[in-house]
C-alpha cells in the first residue's frame, strides 16, 4: 500500500480554483520533488496536505496509510506522522520554543503509545539535534521563531522535523532565502533523515536544492496540474531549459505562495 495516494485533488481559495486535479502516489522510502513556476499550486498542495483550513477541497481523495486524510484535523495528521516544513515559519511571541517543542513531541509520542520524555531525556534529545543543525541553544528559550533570521527559521523547521520524526515530511520551499552554506546544512539535515520507512515530498522552485537532496522522482506542476513526471534527470532538464522549454510560464496573478 502506498503511504500517500492523491487522486484528482481539487482545491480552491475563495472563488479561485488552484488545484485542478492532482494525482500523485508516494511510497515509503521515496523522495519526490515537486517543481513548478510561481503560482502553479505547489505551496497550496503542501498546505492542503497538512490541513490548512484556508483552502477548500472541492474534489478528489487523499489516502494516507490507507486512511482518508482529508477527514483529519491538522493535529491528527501531525500525530499520524505528517510534517510540513513551512515556507514561512510563523512567529509566535510569548510561547517559548522549548515549551512548544515539548508539547508537540509529547502529543505525538502519546499517539505512538510512548511515554512522555522526562526533562533530562528531552534536553539531551534536542541538544543532539540542535548541534546537528548548528543551532544556537539560546534559541530554545526564545519565543517560537520570534526574532529569528530567515536562515534560523528554516533550520528550526528541519530541527523540529528531526525531533518529531515524521513518516511523511513535506518541505515547502525550504531552500528559499538560504545561502549555499545554509542550504547544504539544511539538506544534510534532511538527508540524514532519509530512511526506508519515511517518505519526503520536496516542493521547490529551483533545481539547486535537488543537487543536495537527490530525489527519486520529479513532478512538474503547472496551473494546478502535474504536467510532467520523471526521474531526477527531469530536474536537470528544467535547470537547462527553464520552465519555458516545457511551455510553462509563471502565472501572472500568483496566489499559490500563501
Amino acid at each position: 500500500m502506498a503511504l500517500l495516494e492523491i487522486k484528482d485533488l481539487r482545491a480552491t481559495v475563495g472563488e479561485r480554483e488552484i488545484l485542478k486535479g492532482i494525482d500523485l502516489t508516494v511510497n515509503a522510502g521515496e523522495v519526490h520533488a515537486i517543481m513548478g513556476p510561481n503560482g502553479s499550486g505547489k505551496s497550496t498542495l503542501a498546505q492542503v496536505l497538512a490541513g490548512r483550513e484556508l483552502y477548500q477541497v472541492t474534489g478528489g481523495q487523499v489516502l494516507y496509510d490507507g486512511k482518508d486524510l482529508l477527514e483529519m484535523a491538522p493535529e491528527d495528521r501531525a500525530r499520524e506522522g505528517i510534517f510540513l516544513a513551512f515556507q514561512y515559519p510563523v512567529e509566535i511571541p510569548g510561547v517559548s520554543n522549548m515549551y512548544f517543542l515539548k508539547a508537540a513531541l509529547n502529543t505525538i509520542r502519546k499517539n505512538r503509545n510512548l511515554p512522555d520524555l522526562d526533562a533530562m531525556d528531552f534536553l539531551n534529545l534536542i541538544r543532539e539535534k540542535m548541534t546537528a543543525m548548528k543551532m544556537d541553544q539560546t534559541l530554545l528559550n526564545r519565543p517560537v521563531n520570534t526574532g529569528f533570521s530567515g536562515g534560523e527559521k528554516k533550520r528550526n523547521e528541519i530541527f523540529q522535523m528531526a525531533v518529531l520524526e515524521p513518516r511523511l515530511a513535506i518541505l515547502d520551499e525550504t531552500d528559499s532565502g538560504l545561502d549555499i552554506d545554509a542550504l547544504k546544512l539544511v539538506a544534510s539535515g534532511v538527508n540524514a533523515m532519509r530512511s526506508p520507512e519515511r517518505a519526503m515530498v520536496v516542493v521547490t522552485h529551483y533545481q539547486r536544492l535537488l543537487n543536495e537532496i537527490v530525489p527519486d522522482y520529479v513532478h512538474v506542476l503547472a496551473e494546478g496540474r502535474i504536467v510532467k513526471s520523471g526521474g531526477k534527470e527531469l530536474a536537470l532538464q528544467l535547470e537547462e531549459g527553464g520552465y519555458a522549454a516545457l511551455g510553462i510560464y509563471d502565472e501572472a496573478e500568483a496566489v499559490g505562495k500563501a
Binding site: 484535523a73 493535529e75 501531525a78 509566535i92 510569548g94 508539547a103 508537540a104 517560537v144
Partner: protein, 421 residues
C-alpha cells in the same frame, strides 16, 4: 422620594451605625456622606459610566460584612514580605519585621495630612461612599530616604453570603505615603467568596525622587461587585509603576489615576481577563501637571463568551507641562463573537511641545499561528490556550515580585486551560 435619594438613603443607616471615628476623621466622613447623597450613584447617562451600568449596586441593599474568624495563612494567595490582612474590613493580622522609619498598620493620626486629600470624593460617588464609611484602613508610611526591600502586602478578603436581600459590603481603604527618595513595593490583593460588594479606595503619595512599585491583584469571587479607585500623586522626579491585574468579579470598575509633578515618571499597566458574563471596566487618568513628565501605559484584555470590558484612557497634559512624553497602548484579544469591548483614548493636551501617542487594537487569535501549532500535533484547544496565555505574557513578565508573578501565571494558565477545554 427620587431614585437618587432612595438609593443613597439606604446607606444612611450604614453611615449612622458606624462606631465613632477619631475627631479628625469624623468631619471627613460627614462631608463625604453629604457629597455622596448629593451625587447619587452614577447612571449610564454619565459619560464616565457610559458602558458600565452600576444599577445592580445602586438598587441593591447592603450591610457591613460581619466579623468572621479565618486562618489567614490559608487564604493568602502568596506569602510575601510584610503583611496586613483585613477580613470583612477588620484588621485581623499583620506580620512584620520592619526597618526603622516604616509603619505598616492601621491608619493613625500621622495620616491626617494625607488621608482623603488625593482621591477626590467631590466627583466620584463611590469614593465618597468609601470615605463616608472609612474605618480602620491600611496605612503604609515610609520615611524619607528609607529603602524597603521586601514587598508590603495588603490583603482585603471579603466573606460573602448567599444571594440574600442584604449583601455584605466592605470599604477597603489604603494609604501609602512614601517620603522623598524612599523606595518601596506595595501589593494589594482583593479576594473573597460568594456574593458581596467591595468598594475600595487607595491613595498613594510618592515624595520627590521616591520609587514606588504598586500592584493590584483582583481575584474577587465570580459573583462579587468590585469598585475601586487608585489615586497616585507623584512628586518631582518620582518614579511610580502600577500593575492592575483584574481577573475576578461579576461587575468590576477600576479607576487608576496618577498626577505627575516635574520630571516624574509613571508606568500604568493592566491586564483584564473576562469570561462568562463578567464585566470589567478600567478607567485611567494620567495628569501631567508639570513639565518633563513621562508616562507609559499598556493595558491588555482577553475576552471570551458573553463577557464585556471597557478601557478608557485619559491623558491630560496641562498648559504648564511642556516636554511631556506619553505613550498609551490598549490591546484586546476577543475570543468569541458575543464578547464586547469598548476602548477609548481621551487626550486633553493644553501644552504645545509634547509627545503623546496612543493606539488601540482589537483582534482575534492569529489563524496562522493556530495552524502552525496544530501542524505540530498540538490540539486545537491547547493551541488556543497557549496563544491566549502568550498574549498576556508580556504584562506578567513586567511583574517584578516573583511570588506574585508565579501565582498569577498559574491562575491564568489554569483559567485558559480549563476554559479552552
Amino acid at each position: 422620594m427620587t431614585a437618587v435619594t432612595e438609593q443613597t438613603g439606604a446607606w444612611l443607616a450604614e453611615f449612622a451605625a458606624q462606631a465613632p471615628a477619631a475627631s479628625w476623621v469624623q468631619p471627613l466622613r460627614d462631608a463625604a456622606f453629604q457629597r455622596f447623597a448629593e451625587l447619587g450613584f452614577p447612571t449610564t447617562k454619565n459619560e464616565e459610566w457610559r458602558f458600565t451600568n452600576v444599577a445592580p449596586i445602586a438598587r441593591g441593599r447592603f450591610t457591613a460584612a460581619p466579623p468572621v474568624e479565618l486562618d489567614v495563612d490559608a487564604v493568602a494567595p502568596f506569602a510575601i514580605g510584610t503583611r496586613l490582612v483585613f477580613v470583612n474590613g477588620i484588621l485581623v493580622g499583620s506580620s512584620s519585621s520592619l526597618p526603622k522609619g516604616v509603619h505598616v498598620g492601621p491608619v493613625n493620626e500621622n495620616a491626617q495630612t494625607h488621608l482623603g486629600k488625593y482621591a477626590a470624593f467631590e466627583r466620584n460617588a463611590f469614593v465618597a461612599l468609601n470615605t463616608a464609611l472609612l474605618d480602620t484602613g491600611g496605612y503604609v508610611q515610609v520615611a524619607r530616604g528609607t529603602v524597603v526591600e521586601e514587598p508590603i502586602h495588603l490583603i482585603y478578603l471579603t466573606v460573602g453570603s448567599e444571594p440574600v436581600l442584604h449583601l455584605p459590603h466592605t470599604q477597603p481603604r489604603s494609604l501609602v505615603v512614601v517620603g522623598a527618595n524612599a523606595q518601596c513595593t506595595v501589593v494589594e490583593t482583593y479576594l473573597g467568596t460568594q456574593h458581596y460588594f467591595t468598594n475600595a479606595v487607595t491613595e498613594i503619595v510618592a515624595g520627590d525622587g521616591a520609587v514606588v512599585d504598586h500592584y493590584k491583584v483582583q481575584l474577587e469571587s465570580p459573583e462579587a461587585f468590585h469598585i475601586a479607585t487608585m489615586q497616585a500623586n507623584l512628586g518631582r522626579s518620582a518614579n511610580f509603576s502600577s500593575h492592575s491585574i483584574s481577573l475576578g468579579g461579576a461587575l468590576v470598575r477600576n479607576d487608576a489615576n496618577a498626577t505627575l509633578s516635574e520630571g516624574a515618571e509613571a508606568t500604568i499597566n493592566g491586564l483584564y481577563v473576562v469570561t462568562g458574563e463578567q464585566h470589567i471596566d478600567n478607567h485611567t487618568e494620567i495628569d501631567h501637571a508639570k513639565p518633563h513628565g513621562t508616562s507609559h501605559e499598556l493595558y491588555k484584555g482577553i475576552l471570551d463568551d458573553q463577557a464585556a470590558a471597557v478601557f478608557n484612557g485619559r491623558i491630560i497634559v496641562r498648559k504648564d507641562a511642556q516636554k511631556t512624553d506619553s505613550k498609551q497602548t490598549n490591546k484586546n484579544l476577543v475570543l468569541s463573537d458575543d464578547a464586547v469591548i469598548n476602548t477609548k483614548p481621551e487626550l486633553q493636551i493644553f501644552a504645545d511641545d509634547v509627545r503623546c501617542t496612543h493606539g488601540a487594537t482589537i483582534g482575534q487569535l492569529d489563524e496562522e499561528a493556530m495552524f502552525y501549532l496544530r501542524s505540530r500535533g498540538i490540539g486545537r484547544n491547547q493551541a488556543r490556550s497557549l496563544l491566549t496565555y502568550a498574549f498576556a505574557q508580556d504584562i506578567l513578565d513586567r511583574i517584578k515580585v516573583v511570588p506574585v508573578r508565579d501565582r498569577l501565571e498559574k491562575v491564568l494558565f489554569d483559567k485558559f486551560h480549563e476554559h479552552g477545554g
